[in-house]
Symmetry: C2
Subunit: 487 residues, 2 copies
């Protein structure tokens, strides 16, 4: 990828504006759509620039989790008690180290209202809880644990409640519209009904800046030519992450290099760099979400070991946490050790089995398996012996996997090779205020410039839970839209 | 710390220059001194701005390692063969993931010449090898392993050679001038003899920029007033790391928050932010050096376990690597398990014992110790049993500690609590070309602006070896000085 020129354009050099609006939003994913809804509601004339041929962004392809809590109507309808204090305590523990406590407090306090707002925009949720292990609900259930809240150590830190809110699909089948699409469609319809216009196949290139430093527009490319778009009140960057910009990933998040997943190719960091060129500050550029490519129904029924044959994470926690621990702390090396009976039980589980993996090795004894896998002599044997001894008593003193998943490992015993089986996306981006103003490196807001979604740093510094990105993207997208509309 | 205004100053607004030179260097540590030597050698009039009352920077307080190899005169005089290929292979493995292979190749190719240049500037080296475990030589020896080159896994990747080159002190005693001082003194004397001027008690604030974007000076504070310094040919930023800027550490390297070490308080990231305000790009801001506060003589004689009672790193590798593994991969939790005989042997070792730690717990049996420490039942017992069984045969199949340090752990057995016993400094900074030009986020050099030392990203992306910072700081400091002098 050739590095593009993102040098700011002096407003004086622009003699013709091709388009004009009060609020110009770059990117029609979840943050852009939420910004558009709120900006039109505040009376602004809104234009959304989208690089592809249609709205949607990464959100429309996503599983659709929105991380919300503190007692939303959906949580209550499903019979769960939750509080702002518990949600805050969980996020402070799970999104760090380095998580922004002020932002977490702000988000948790606004979470119930944000859920109601989504519903008011027409986003459908079915009041049914999905309690099985999995990356997402198997059916059209609206609520699921999506961050390991009920697993160790989080269940000792805050009272657990499921907070993964999932929009309902009319008829969930493989290949149908995703839950993320069911989030995006009503938001875009609401924005459009309010008067927001969309301009498609437009790639934003540079910010246009007045002599006093205020951002007053965008220069972009469309159909091979330059276009200029004037923003009378403000510009909102909602252009997504930098997961697909190889150079930026190498500079800022090298350990996820070569393995972008659950993101889209349009996420090339362009909006981040456009603002950096103006002296914008960044935050948490090293943070990433990490998925591990195995079915959680299988994961919970085995033990996960590293290259030294040691267990390192409770197998029943949020699988994204397992992915982070594997990629970052175990050199991207893990093996799932699972016996024949557990493997059969996993295969028979209700899961869609998209990520069910056959064992790479199967042996009669752990000693043979250890040798086949090339692990240090005795290492896996000692791990399995310790695990089995405690599992007989339904205990896991080492990692506190829940009793329901504890069963001694018998024969035949297999192992799934999970080396290099992770992928993810970047979480860092522009540093913003809670009003979504982009901050410069002197700590001052850049006048006229706002950012939300994964082009901005959000709730996550290091940990993650499914739904954080659609959550903070829509939440701070709204803030950006409201504040940009004020000008 | 209040965030300072680093907004660039338009040159048109400056009506009076208080000082003027061809090349203006900010910071009189190792990178600034090396830049000054080369800039005066190239015929430039040079002014070095230093924030404190004297030259020195972090370098003058450092242990003084300079990481060099490929067959330097000192390596040869000490009887070691080394090659550019072995040095390159080691650094590519040890400085990553994400290390910049082009920069490593460039540095390794220039390494022998760079050593000769240091000698020609008057830096003294004693041709004697120090072979004991330790953070630095006990006496005035000039050469030592400083990156685990002869430990697993690096000894399987490249032919090992010691590459930690240490300037000789006249009379090394506790409290005397450091080896880093013996590096700095001759460099500053060489620069001064060449005509470089120093201006002290000057805090740089902002870059001054011509209408065409070229950096033409610096605005600074001195004795409570503003001063302006014109740079006719170029500005070199050599202002050090951001290890003491709490906000930047929280944004970019949160896991080292609250534990800066082996750095100086002047390292507040100012130079980095001044260039960011102009749209400069960054690299490897998450990377850090990490020290673990224990004497290596003690470390090699025990086994290091994590909070799950598991071993995780060869105890005889570079102790900075042990620090990184502990802080980043084990939640900053480690315990050194060591028996009475080994502890006594460590205490009797030749080490200055500055970091010799008494055991926190001592018991008759490992079972009792495990319980005292609060580890999961059986976890430490199984680790010690496996270790002892192989150590009887002088083998360590799990982590490949060298045979000389392998001895079964007996009774009484103690453990040193090494939780929260790490500290370090930041390695990321401005993204530069191999000519030390600062790059902007469009990938273009910012005219007139150079950077070296820890305000720039250097050889290390993630790993580290002692001597990398003084090494690349002096090496690319020279490049910066030479290229800035050309204008």
């Amino acid at each position: 990828m050739v590095q593009q020129d993102v040098t700011p354009i002096p407003a004086e050099s622009i003699h013709h504006w091709d388009h004009e609006a009060d609020v110009v939003i770059a990117g029609y994913g979840v943050a852009g759509a939420a910004a558009a809804v709120e900006a039109v509601a505040a009376g602004a004339d809104v234009l959304v620039l989208e690089r592809t041929g249609s709205w949607g962004g990464a959100a429309a392809m996503a599983g659709g989790f929105i991380y919300l809590g503190g007692g939303t109507a959906l949580q209550r309808a499903c019979g769960f008690d939750d509080s702002v204090a518990d949600m805050t305590a969980y996020l402070n523990a799970a999104m760090g180290p380095g998580a922004d406590a002020d932002r977490i407090a702000d988000y948790c306090e606004g979470s119930v209202e944000h859920f109601d707002w989504l519903v008011s925009c027409g986003v459908p949720f079915k009041a049914e809880f999905f309690g099985e292990p999995g990356w997402e609900p198997m059916g059209d259930q609206g609520l699921m644990y999506s961050g390991g809240e009920n697993a160790h150590p989080f269940n000792t830190i805050a009272r657990p409640a499921p907070r993964g809110h999932v929009p309902q699909m009319a008829d969930k089948k493989q290949g149908e519209a995703s839950a993320g699409f069911m989030l995006m469609k009503p938001l875009v319809e609401t924005a459009t009904a309010g008067g927001a216009r969309g301009l498609f196949d437009v790639r934003v290139q540079s910010l246009v800046v007045a002599p006093d430093g205020r951002v007053v527009g965008i220069r972009a490319r469309q159909y091979g030519g330059d276009v200029t778009i004037r923003a009378r009140r403000g510009v909102v960057l909602a252009t997504g992450s930098f997961a697909y910009n190889d150079a930026m990933v190498a500079q800022y998040a090298p350990r996820i290099s070569g393995r972008p997943a659950a993101s889209i190719e349009q996420h090339d960091g362009q909006g981040i760099r456009m603002a950096q060129a103006l002296g914008a500050d960044l935050a948490h550029m090293d943070a990433t979400e990490v998925a591990i490519f195995i079915d959680p129904q299988q994961l919970v029924r085995g033990i996960l070991v590293n290259g030294r044959g040691q267990r390192f994470v409770a197998e029943d926690t949020y699988p994204g946490r397992v992915g982070q621990a594997t990629l970052y702390h175990q050199d991207n090396t893990a093996y799932l050790v699972i016996d024949g009976a557990a493997q059969e039980e996993a295969m028979a589980s209700a899961s869609p089995q998209l990520m069910m993996r056959p064992p790479t090795w199967v042996c009669d004894t752990v000693a043979e398996l250890e040798q086949e896998m090339g692990l240090a002599p005795g290492s896996l044997q000692s791990t399995v012996a310790s695990y089995n001894e405690a599992a007989e008593r339904r205990e896991d003193p080492l990692l506190h996997k829940k009793a329901q998943w504890l069963k001694p490992i018998g024969s035949p015993v297999g192992a799934v090779d999970l080396r290099e089986s992770t992928g993810g996306f970047t979480l860092g981006g522009l540093k913003t205020t809670l009003d979504a103003e982009v901050l410069d490196v002197s700590g001052q807001p850049i006048a006229g410039l706002y950012a939300a979604g994964r082009s901005a740093s959000g709730l996550a510094a290091w940990g993650y839970a499914s739904g954080i990105s659609l959550g903070d993207g829509s939440f701070y997208g709204r803030r950006a839209g409201r504040h940009a509309a004020k000008g």
